[in-house]
């Protein structure tokens, strides 16, 4: 165990001992789907938790439970947190949606925040990031850089968030490269390094030279590094340890400002149930440094695209766009509304294969 961790534990124990006196201390709970050391999704949520601690010091106490399976066990974990005195609980995976709603009904005094879901209640807010904005930039780079014209995409579960990412990346890859094809593999897990690595290898063997992933670990990048001459992107976190290898850029989730704002709201008594969906503009989605492997002109285009999205001049889902079956989805210049995006269950025209249900 690292010294810093030991000290934190000691400080925590001390905090518990004196906690009886300091009743104004706000207890904040975090429920994670993977281990905090996954290097991706959960890692970034935990960085947000640490930012909350740094911001409020001894006015807050944070607790977290990692590697919580999406299912009934999640309800047990949340219930335990609420019983232990947590007044604000962040549940950070799509599959925690129904458990969060169920537990929230039992604890009306506890505030809940569910990431990436769409069900709200008086004491349940939802928040998510417009990852698809980052996917547009990835798609642009992928379409420009692929030589085999095959882009491999590792999906986790066929839910709207993931499908949105696939569509956004595909639209922007096709825009710059009409011959590009996407090969999509569903891993049916958020976190299983061996399976994610196998999926990446299979895609590479079938000719993909760009790997996009929507799973949480760095395993696909490790597999890409092993294969050589493959590019990939950091997912959820910068994954910059692979920057001298396959990683050419990344989508970084920056939850810290949101977490700090929400904790502040509970402290001030101004918390209300809200629905937050922020993108590159407000800074919830960050684009990791684009490495020198990307040609300078492509990098400039990618950054211009990023700026246009950030300023609101350009929406990644702007017509004319057709659905996979050829029917018209968006007319020329029309922009997708958030409702359609949140429930997206179709591929856009040009993607092969069907979405499992």
């Amino acid at each position: 165990m690292k010294l810093s961790k030991l000290l934190t534990t000691a400080a925590f124990a001390l905090g518990l001992a004196t906690g009886a006196m300091a009743q104004d201390k706000l207890k904040v709970g975090f429920v994670y789907v993977g281990p905090v050391g996954d290097g991706g999704w959960t890692y970034e949520h935990d960085k947000g938790r640490q930012a909350v601690e740094a911001e409020f010091g001894d006015k807050v106490e944070t607790v977290f439970v990692e590697s919580v399976p999406e299912g009934p066990d999640a309800e047990r974990v949340m219930t335990q947190m609420a019983l232990d005195g947590a007044k604000l609980i962040f549940t950070t995976s799509f599959g925690f949606m129904d458990p969060t709603i169920n537990v929230a009904a039992k604890f009306p005094d506890v505030k809940f925040e569910h990431a990436t879901g769409y069900k709200r209640a008086d004491n349940v807010s939802t928040y998510s990031a417009r990852f698809y904005e980052g996917r547009a930039i990835q798609g642009h780079i992928a379409g420009k850089m692929t030589e085999s014209n095959i882009v491999g995409y590792i999906g986790s579960y066929p839910i709207p968030e993931v499908i949105r990412g696939i569509n956004s990346a595909f639209i922007h890859a096709r825009k710059v490269n009409p011959d590009v094809q996407f090969k999509i593999v569903w891993a049916y897990t958020w976190f299983d390094p061996a399976k994610e690595a196998d999926a990446a290898k299979v895609l590479i063997e079938q000719g993909a030279d760009v790997i996009l992933q929507h799973t949480d670990s760095t395993a696909p990048l490790a597999a890409a590094a092993e294969a050589g001459n493959i590019i990939g992107f950091g997912q959820a976190s910068d994954m910059s340890e692979y920057a001298d290898g396959p990683r050419v850029s990344s989508i970084i989730d920056n939850w810290a400002p949101y977490y700090i704002a929400r904790v502040k709201a509970v402290m001030d008594g101004t918390w209300t149930s809200t629905d937050t969906w922020d993108g590159i503009g407000p800074g919830m989605v960050g684009i990791g440094e684009i490495t020198d492997k990307v040609p300078a002109d492509v990098k400039a285009e990618a950054l211009a695209l990023k700026d246009a999205i950030a300023k609101g001049d350009y929406h990644p889902f702007t017509g004319p766009l057709n659905k996979q079956d050829g029917s018209v989805w968006l007319a020329d210049g029309e922009v997708a509304d958030d409702g359609t995006l949140l429930g997206m269950d179709f591929y856009v025209e040009g993607i092969e294969g069907t979405i499992p249900n």
Binding site: P35, G39, S67, A199, V202, E205, Q206, A219, A222
Partner: protein, 306 residues
């Protein structure tokens, strides 16, 4: 659908890679069970081996030392099981389950600080002439050394069990420990050695995942392969060649189903995802229709005073 995008040569090659951790763990457990001991701690020994091997490989820069450390780590953990079940005569099922839980916890403790690090890459076999052969070279002669080590261990175990005196004694201990004891064989000592061998094999299987197949360390990365290895030994009727067949089948179908998905085959993904389990069980159950059965003393406690 575009089946032509599946390259059969690469498919066969990656099949061997996907099967190796399972093969190593299963053949180790086979020896343990042949000696009459049921060790359900395979998953725990694998994940412990995975982090021990990873840590040593990173710190020394030598992946082969890492594999040795993984074998040692798995063996040391299995020694705990041996002490509990062979010396303290504890229940084997409970001790084995405890070993898995302990191994998972221990590994994430050791693994603090090893996330996001890349291990030194593993040497591949490269025999001039053989490795360059058009088709067979890629399938058979250009893997990492561990793939061959797995095959060598299976062959050695098969040979030992079938043709050597040591194998005969091991089987005697597993079939009827009281008779073996009456003949003057050291039942407990033989079983402890078998348990250590099983632990070492499981540890190497785990290290194969963390050093070669992924390669990186993340908590819980063996993700249930140890349990599959346990089931495989039973379905393979405690026969080394069937373990090999089962492991390759399982690894093969796993890789094939991902390939079929990537090629856009119109089979629902859910069925593809369950196919490795179904097909492996089906084939091995059909094969085990002959009269082979479990070692008679499997899971029974032996005490010399009786």
């Amino acid at each position: 659908m575009d089946l032509s995008s599946i390259n059969p040569i690469l498919l066969l090659a990656s099949l061997m890679v996907a099967a190796t951790p399972l093969l190593l763990a299963a053949v180790g457990e086979l020896v343990v069970e042949k000696a009459g001991v049921l060790n359900l701690g395979v998953e725990g020994m694998m994940i412990t081996g995975a982090i021990c091997g990873f840590a040593i490989a990173v710190n020394t820069g030598n992946p082969l030392l890492g594999v040795l450390a993984a074998a040692a780590g798995g063996a040391v953990l299995s020694l705990l099981f041996a002490l509990l079940t062979q010396v303290a005569l504890a229940n084997q099922v409970a001790s084995g389950l405890g070993l898995t839980l302990f191994g998972l916890g221990l590994s994430s403790l050791i693994g603090q600080g090893y996330q996001g690090i890349r291990p030194p890459s593993f040497p591949r076999l490269n025999i001039p002439g053989l490795s360059d052969m058009p088709v067979l070279g890629r399938i058979l002669f250009s893997h990492d050394l561990m793939v061959y080590l797995g095959l060598i261990i299976v062959t050695a175990v098969w040979f030992m069990l079938k043709y050597t005196r040591a194998g005969l004694i091991l089987r005697a201990v597993g079939e009827n420990h009281e008779a073996a004891h009456a003949l003057g064989y050291k039942v407990v000592r033989i079983r402890i050695m078998a348990i250590l061998f099983g632990g070492a094999c499981a540890g190497m299987g785990g290290a194969y995942i963390s050093l070669i197949r992924v390669p990186q360390w993340t908590e819980g990365m063996t993700a249930g392969i140890g349990w599959i290895a346990l089931a495989l030994v039973v379905f393979a009727s405690w026969k080394p060649w069937r373990v090999l067949l089962g492991a390759y089948l399982f690894g093969g179908v796993t890789v094939i189903q991902l390939n079929l998905q990537a090629a856009g085959v119109a089979i629902p993904v859910e069925y593809l995802a369950m196919s490795p389990y179904l097909i492996t069980i089906l084939v091995l159950v059909i094969m085990s229709a002959d009269k082979s059965s479990a070692p008679a003393s499997l899971g029974r406690v032996f005490h010399a005073s009786r």
